[in-house]
């Protein structure tokens, strides 16, 4: 069927009805969804309150189930606010959230329950293990999962796998939370290990330590579905504010002339 081929091509998941159909084929889900997880690095301005944790956790779980039925099955949701992340280190007053939904095998239709359940588990785990430092740093509301979010943010914005030491260094530089105390090396290792267990990270041995990288997978399934829906309707496209419009050949030349004339190319990071 069209939909199976489409999803194997990573990303042409057609529409909601296809997702619904996927719910009935766990086997299919398992093959393409085994590595599936999407993650979102989310960020809000700190003055914008985001409601109570429990409510938002639950809604995240539901979001996981509905958006992701075709992709990840049992989903582990980790979500909470964190301090500013390396990704957006230009921003002084930003809270950052990270949600990781790591897929395992199983039936997609149960993932709503799974997501909620594991989200709570994740939150309490971080209270217990890494949470000591977090509570001191950011108070109880921010404690749950905040460190995981920050760590994931660091790994996300890094171009290569990082060792725990490097993560710790970048966290310190990124001023975790509101400039709270620097994390100890062992806390960072604990967080990384836990994230690895949740399948949010891959790791490879490098000498005596591991290096960690965020898992590459079918993340963004939900958003991709969104942009496809939007693409199909020109009206909807019109309400999005796209960062850059499509470029014609001539535009590209003009751009290169504009920026290239002054000594540095437009594609400053390898896109040229």
């Amino acid at each position: 069927m069209r939909r199976e081929r489409d999803r194997k091509q990573q990303g042409k998941l057609a529409d909601t009805s296809d997702v619904t159909a996927d719910r009935e084929t766990p086997a299919d889900t398992a093959t393409s969804g085994a590595t599936a997880a999407w993650r979102t690095l989310t960020e809000t301005e700190s003055e914008a309150g985001t409601g109570t944790e429990s409510v938002t956790e639950a809604s995240t779980g539901r979001g996981a189930a509905s958006n992701e039925a075709g992709g990840a099955s049992g989903a582990a949701t980790v979500g909470v606010e964190a301090g500013r992340q390396a990704l957006v280190s230009g921003d002084a007053d930003a809270d950052a959230d990270t949600h990781v939904n790591g897929g395992a095998g199983g039936d997609a239709s149960t993932s709503a329950v799974d997501a909620d359940g594991r989200a709570n588990a994740g939150a309490s785990a971080s209270d217990g293990a890494g949470g000591g430092a977090a509570e001191q740093a950011a108070g109880p509301r921010r404690a749950a999962g905040a460190l995981e979010s920050a760590v994931l943010g660091v790994l996300w914005s890094a171009s290569e796998p990082l060792s725990p030491g490097e993560v710790r260094e970048k966290l310190a530089r990124g001023e975790l939370a509101d400039g709270g105390p620097t994390l100890s090396y062992s806390t960072v290792v604990t967080i990384l290990t836990r994230l690895h267990e949740k399948r949010a990270l891959s790791r490879q041995r490098d000498g005596r330590a591991y290096r960690y990288a965020p898992l590459a997978d079918e993340a963004g399934l939900a958003a991709r579905r969104l942009s496809q829906l939007l693409d199909r309707a020109a009206d909807r496209e019109a309400v999005l504010s796209r960062f850059v419009a499509d470029l014609s050949e001539r535009d590209e030349q003009v751009l290169r002339d504009l920026l290239g004339g002054r000594g540095d190319g437009a594609g400053s990071s390898g896109t040229a």
């Binding site: 985001t50 957006v88 963004g220 991709r224 504010s241 796209r242 499509d246 001539r250 504009l258």
Partner: protein
Amino acid sequence: MRALIFLTLLFPLAAAPLARSVTSRVEPRLATWLMASGALLLAGTSCGALGLLVLSELARTPWLARVGDWSSSIVADGGLPGGWTSLIAGVLLGAALLAAATFAVRRGRALAGARRHARELPGHGELVVTEDKCADAYAVPGRPGRIVVSAGMLDALDERGRAALLAHERAHLRARHHWFTGVARLAAAANPMVRPLADAVEFTVERWADEEAAAAVGDRRLVAQAIASAAIAAKTTRPRRAVLATLGAVLPGGGPAALSRRLRNRPEDPLRDAGPVPRRVAALLAPAPRPGLPALTVSVLFLGLAVLCAVKAADHLQDLISFAHAVSE
């Protein structure tokens, strides 16, 4: 009165030069406000003028005169336009209202759809990063609005470029730019003559967000480079977009407006025919825009004149009808 009504209908002809001069001379935020409200005013007054033409025919029908208790013969002698003129005006007005209503419904649905998707996107923060290899980034209006950035786009930008991108998209959401473009497009749906203003508003909201981003990261050149890198990355990685969307992106700027631009083109200026991205980059490489108060004043006066004409015409009709009313008593 006849002259006033037709004069009112002529004002939208100036939409294209107005858009051009405001876009190039007035600072983006003011320009957006000015042109969105200008589009609305010009479309509103021209629809109003059409309405007056219809009314002046209706007012002389004996039936309505009886109901409203005025002398139809006095109205008929009042030098009002009528007959075929009114019929054509009626048809045009009907078409304009229908087009505007259709647009409003479609745009309303699109906004509701975007709002729903903004809610359904994973997470509950503002930013959503997808693992899409294609470089893409956009803001989805909603409550709260969301910003979707693909991994491909993050790869294309360095850390400060990402900060610029986020600042840009945040500016769109915070200032609710989709309302400005929506209002301008609504006006253009009702009166296609104001379309140049709507096109210009779509450009100046981008410029507005660019300037906000430049203020946020404190470096205009950096934002220019981020835009250029992002656009080139998007071009090289993005799969061919849906035909409709591409057409939508190409047609408004590439139609008669571009042609007329080409006709009076000074060939040595490479930006004349360029798309929005190079123009945004060039504007960021130039010094920060000045408010452009002279052009702003002239435009406001012009719009004021259009409104004055419409109001005077309406006044005239009302006076005539009150007079006919007084006579019949």
